[in-house]
């Protein structure tokens, strides 16, 4: 059930914290819009949270374009407690990083674990949000949010357009093959963690007849800012067709 906890508004943006069960989230909405405004459900990356600058920045662009935007803290992230399992995997990731070992195998395994915990929460959140967001729904999430999002989107027909990116195909390709909605997919051409062939393989796996790959030069964290503008235009094309 959707419970709003705090509410802030400016001239153009209404920001509401909410909980669904013990999952905390934020819903940003345009203060003026033709009902029903479409919703973009976002996910944050690993090690960050629902109000990370990438989230608030993308939300601002989307709300200005007329969308509701919702994001929740993933399990073990933001305002949520870590399990012993979380602590062990995070310690292992930091150990590998310090030792100069590949991070991929740990991130892939841990993200797959987090996805199992997060998908039911995201589904319950989207159920609850339908009280206030009755228009079309899109999904936008990179990195860990792609690991969760591919599983989420593959089994939720309410979501009709999605932006994914920056992930390995290992645990996701089979689910991606079930996805047929329009997709925009971002990868970094010189990603030091995700081999180029792995990024191309995940893009290739989506069964969508309308899908676009955006590959930019640079390392994993160098995704250009203009890709957020592109994602907004993608959602406008697919969720605001009229």
């Amino acid at each position: 059930m959707l419970q709003f906890t705090t509410q802030t508004s400016t001239d153009s943006v209404l920001e509401r914290d909410f909980t669904v069960g013990d999952v905390p989230g934020v819903l940003w909405s345009p203060t003026e819009h033709d009902e029903p405004a479409p919703l973009v459900f976002m996910g944050h990356g690993g090690g960050t949270h629902k109000r990370w600058p990438a989230m608030t920045g993308r939300a601002a662009l989307l709300v200005a374009a007329g969308f509701h935007v919702a994001v929740v803290d993933a399990p073990g992230h933001g305002d949520r407690p870590r399990t012993d399992h979380d602590e062990r995997e995070i310690a292992e990731l930091f150990r590998a990083r310090a030792a100069g070992e590949p991070e991929g195998p740990i991130v892939v395994r841990y993200n797959a674990h987090l996805a199992e915990r997060a998908v039911p929460e995201w589904r319950a959140t989207l159920d609850a949000l339908q009280e206030v967001c009755t228009g079309p729904v899109g999904f936008y999430g990179l990195n860990m949010a792609t690991a969760i999002g591919v599983l989420f989107v593959a089994d939720d027909p309410r979501i009709t357009a999605a932006v994914f990116g920056l992930h390995w195909p290992d645990a996701l390709a089979d689910q991606a093959r079930k996805i047929t909605i329009p997709i925009e997919y971002a990868m970094q051409w010189d990603d030091e963690h995700i081999p180029r062939e792995a990024g191309l393989a995940l893009f290739d796996a989506f069964a969508s007849t309308e899908k676009t790959l955006h590959a930019n030069t640079g390392r994993h964290k160098d995704l250009p800012r203009f890709e957020a503008d592109s994602a907004v235009r993608f959602f406008v094309r697919h969720l605001m067709k009229n």
Copy 2:
């Protein structure tokens, strides 16, 4: 030398036919702009001409964004005569197409030949256009215009941003390795003529630190219209920085 032959204008667009030597072209310009407006030099695809709908459509978007746009007929195209060599290669292409044989080897070879003839003409045209277009210069050309454009851009430091796409790397990769300006590159993920690996290889060859690949589902001629909007934004980012 630049000679204007006809002139038409509407509320927002000034269209001037011109010749430079025996090469005919069109220059579209915004009727009102802060001088000096940047120029996008375009090239048309094989078998078409300077006023093909893809050219006039892209020009309309670019002029509305404040650019001059110039395009000339390639050798053997539009208002220009074909040589015996042109006739033989075109006959060979049609024969291969009718026989269901690969078109690639013929297109690659003929485009390389046309590029040799066209590059000096394009350079002379850009020289001549500097009379009226004194701002920054970009290049926009797919298919055959990429075959000509990669050679043109590689040796002309006046061009500081380029959109290429839809070509084989065979005759172009060595020149692409000399190009360091920002690039946007379009390819079709299911191109029936250009193997996926060939498209990726040409994108990879550019030495640019800022380059973006846009790969869309669909066959060779299915490039989505929204890629033209993307190209306009690319030129705005790079040629209208202020």
